[in-house]
């Protein structure tokens, strides 16, 4: 699936999910992002790649971090940005997603960055939008969050330089996590030697093994010798739906502490998509410790989002070798 993401030349037209994208495209995104990291470091943080383009941030779910980094990324590429924060309760009062889409199209925009509570929402929009408009998925339900996965890959690459030998553990609420799904697809496509998911049975979705991962229910076993630990945020609603007894018990068995992390590879890095819950899934000493690369992830987020925007909407600058 996801072929809708590519144009006839096999280049990115939309960015909806990692699943279905081949390795060369992912590498292309990482290389392009690396070239933008230098812009970030300059005093004048602007490139004219998307000058005259209009980008709409269409957020049906609240988000500060992701929306802001998309906005910054667009501005650094010289695009005009509009933010639409749509309270789902008011949008449900009448206007359908399709109607809203066509209304925004009529404003002659070039790109929509979409976050929505329904899995497949970005895919749906890409199917129905006018052909000149590009869609970037900023998180659709429990499905994918592909820019997060790419910034995770960028971060891993900066520290480890090669995906092939890596053992990576993704820990926590795999069931509800779009980050986990996108990370899994990215890591398996980039050839990591082993991808593990770690969590209690209530938070591991059925059939996840078929995505090419190994399931662990014990944190200590799951982290043994891993090179990268990706912690996921635990939503407090999970207690209400009887998936977990309490925050305390969760932290006791699945919280990342110095003690547990000791079983990982001595040079293992610790990642988290943010925002972190200190004392719920991660201990402060780890979050602020030397193995944490959480803030590096945030910085990479801007470059990755610039790369994806430039590759889908820009006039192919900088020119990269084509994917397949």
């Amino acid at each position: 699936m996801n072929n809708i993401q590519l144009d006839q030349q096999g280049r990115l037209k939309h960015f909806l999910g990692i699943e279905g994208l081949k390795r060369p495209i992912l590498i292309d995104i990482l290389n392009t992002a690396a070239s933008f990291l230098s812009i970030d470091a300059k005093a004048v943080k602007k490139a004219p790649i998307l000058r005259g383009k209009t980008i709409i941030n269409l957020f049906f779910e609240p988000s500060t971090r992701t929306r802001t980094t998309f906005e910054l990324a667009a501005k650094r590429l010289s695009a005009d940005v509009l933010n639409f924060n749509i309270d789902t309760s008011s949008s449900s009062k009448g206007e359908t997603l399709i109607d809203m889409l066509h209304n925004l199209e009529a404003m002659h925009c070039d790109m929509f960055i979409v976050r929505h509570k329904a899995g497949g929402a970005a895919y749906f929009m890409a199917q129905h939008v006018a052909p000149h408009i590009h869609i970037i998925n900023a998180g659709d339900g429990q499905h994918e969050h592909p820019t997060q996965a790419m910034l995770d890959m960028q971060t891993i690459y900066q520290y480890k330089k090669d995906f092939a030998p890596l053992q990576v553990a993704i820990v926590g609420d795999i069931l509800h996590s779009r980050v986990a799904r996108s990370d899994i697809h990215a890591l398996t496509t980039l050839g990591a030697s082993q991808v593990r998911v770690v969590g209690p049975k209530t938070l591991i979705p059925k059939g996840i093994e078929e995505l090419g991962v190994k399931v662990f229910n014990s944190l200590k076993t799951g982290l043994r010798d891993v090179d990268v630990v990706i912690m996921l945020r635990l939503q407090r609603e999970r207690m209400q739906s009887a998936l977990l007894p309490s925050v305390f018990e969760y932290f006791q068995y699945y919280g990342l502490t110095e003690d547990v992390l000791a079983v990982a590879h001595p040079e293992a890095i610790v990642m988290h998509p943010g925002p972190i819950n200190r004392g719920v899934e991660i201990d402060s000493t780890i979050a602020d410790g030397k193995r944490s690369v959480i803030l590096q992830q945030v910085s990479n987020g801007i470059a990755i989002r610039m790369a994806v925007m430039a590759m889908t909407l820009g006039s192919r600058i900088p020119e990269q070798k084509e994917g397949q």
Binding site: I98, A118, G119, G120, F124, G141
Partner: protein, 425 residues
């Protein structure tokens, strides 16, 4: 006396195991004779059915007519016309109309409008509980007198005591209960729980959402002695539970929707909302189990589970779309496709949509027996065609089979001895 002869067709009557090229003679709305007519018979009308199949009109156990309450999706006229155009002469309509079929007035209204439409016959199912709320019993006795053929609650009843009493009271009224086995707490998702739901990030509905309800219902059926029919099974496991119950002698039957015999959760790739149905499309093994269940007789009938929708109802991200397929146009063709794929004879295959559903409903129909109502379907088994929005007869064009190639096209539908004029105003 209105008379009609259907000549030289291949006449298939699954109820009597008849399959031969012969003539069917009709008088006064009833089957008069097969083969040679009485000497004093003369036909006012004749149909040359050479190279065509003549069989009992199809009986469909579940058709949402959408009237009263959702006339923008379909009306009694539009959907009974679509049924008739597709060789279906009797349809059963579930009670989840608006208002609900929980009073004789609504049941009578539906039947009156169906009679006025003059297309397929309509047999309403009565609500088991008032407003389908699962709290107080509906007037099952009076609803039976008003023409309801059975009782159903469509929505799950969570209070087991109410359920027990509803079954016992239905048994008291000699009404069959039509059960849609759904355990509501496990059914919050929108597709089958498995690798596909995990991959697509959609909430899953596990197999146990069906089997737990089947297990509970079977125990209550045994306890109350009610005659029960399980509607639209979706899992192989439920089929084997029904099989065991039947072996024990419980009075239970079951049907499967035609689409569950052909589609699985894999067909939802790319979030195809036309495949959003309840119960959900399940795994390949489930599909195989359902097919086996039919062949072994544990599932007795195939229904369309027709649910027409306006285009907008399917035009949203998957989980936000309405569930259901507009399926009247594909019941016979899918039944024929099933016969071909499973290499079973047409008599058996047509039995699933004629005399088997008639037996479940306890009506004298679905057969070409002498003196039975002359409801027939005549179709050309070799006519190839493609399903398109333009040639769909139902008001709803929501079908995952759009653009599929089919074999077998209805040429005449006869109801009470009259050739149905689909184009009449």
């Amino acid at each position: 006396m209105a008379t009609l002869s259907i000549l030289e067709g291949r006449v298939i009557d699954p109820a009597s195991n008849l399959d031969s090229v012969t003539n069917v003679h009709i008088a006064d709305g009833k089957i008069l004779a097969i083969g040679t007519p009485p000497t004093d018979f003369s036909a006012e009308q004749q149909i040359n059915a050479k190279n065509q199949i003549v069989c009992p009109g199809l009986i469909d156990l579940s058709v949402r007519l959408c009237e009263p309450g959702a006339e923008h999706k379909g009306t009694i006229l539009s959907e009974t016309r679509a049924a008739a155009a597709n060789g279906i002469t009797t349809v059963c309509c579930p009670p989840d109309t608006n208002p609900v079929i929980d009073t004789p007035a609504v049941a009578e209204l539906i039947q009156k409008r169906a009679t006025e439409a003059g297309m397929a016959k309509v047999l309403p199912l009565a609500a088991m509980t008032q407003a389908l709320k699962g709290e107080q019993l509906a007037e099952i006795g009076r609803l039976k007198e008003a023409g309801c053929i059975g009782v159903s609650n469509v929505l799950p009843i969570t209070n087991t005591q109410v359920l027990r009493h509803a079954y016992a009271y239905a048994a008291n009224c000699e009404m069959t209960v039509f059960l849609q086995p759904i355990e509501p707490w496990l059914s919050k998702g929108c597709i089958h729980e498995g690798t596909i739901s995990t991959r697509l990030g959609l909430s899953g509905i596990p197999e146990t959402a069906e089997t737990i309800a089947v297990a509970r219902d079977l125990l209550l059926i045994e306890m109350t002695g009610v005659r029960a029919h399980f509607c639209r099974l979706s899992t192989a496991r439920a089929v084997s539970m029904i099989k065991e119950a039947q072996a024990k002698g419980l009075p239970v039957t079951a049907d499967v929707s035609a689409h569950h015999l052909f589609l699985t959760d894999k067909d939802i790739k790319n979030y195809n909302s036309q495949c959003h149905v309840s119960p959900p499309l399940r795994s390949h093994d489930d599909k195989t189990g359902l097919r086996e269940g039919l062949l072994q007789g544990n599932i007795n009938a195939i229904s369309s589970d027709h649910q027409p929708h306006e285009a907008d109802a399917k035009l949203s991200p998957f989980a936000m779309t309405a569930s259901g397929i507009s399926a009247l146009d594909t019941l016979l063709p899918l039944c024929l496709r099933f016969a071909e794929e499973m290499q079973i004879d047409l008599t058996t295959a047509l039995g699933y949509v004629t005399h088997k559903p008639a037996q479940i409903l306890g009506i004298s129909a679905g057969t070409l027996a002498i003196d039975c109502p002359a409801d027939l379907c005549i179709f050309d088994p070799n006519s190839h065609w493609r399903l398109t929005p333009d040639n769909m007869q139902s008001l709803g064009h929501n079908s995952p089979f759009l653009n599929s190639e089919f074999k077998g096209k209805v040429s005449y539908t006869i109801i009470n001895g009259q050739i149905v004029d689909i184009d009449k105003e």
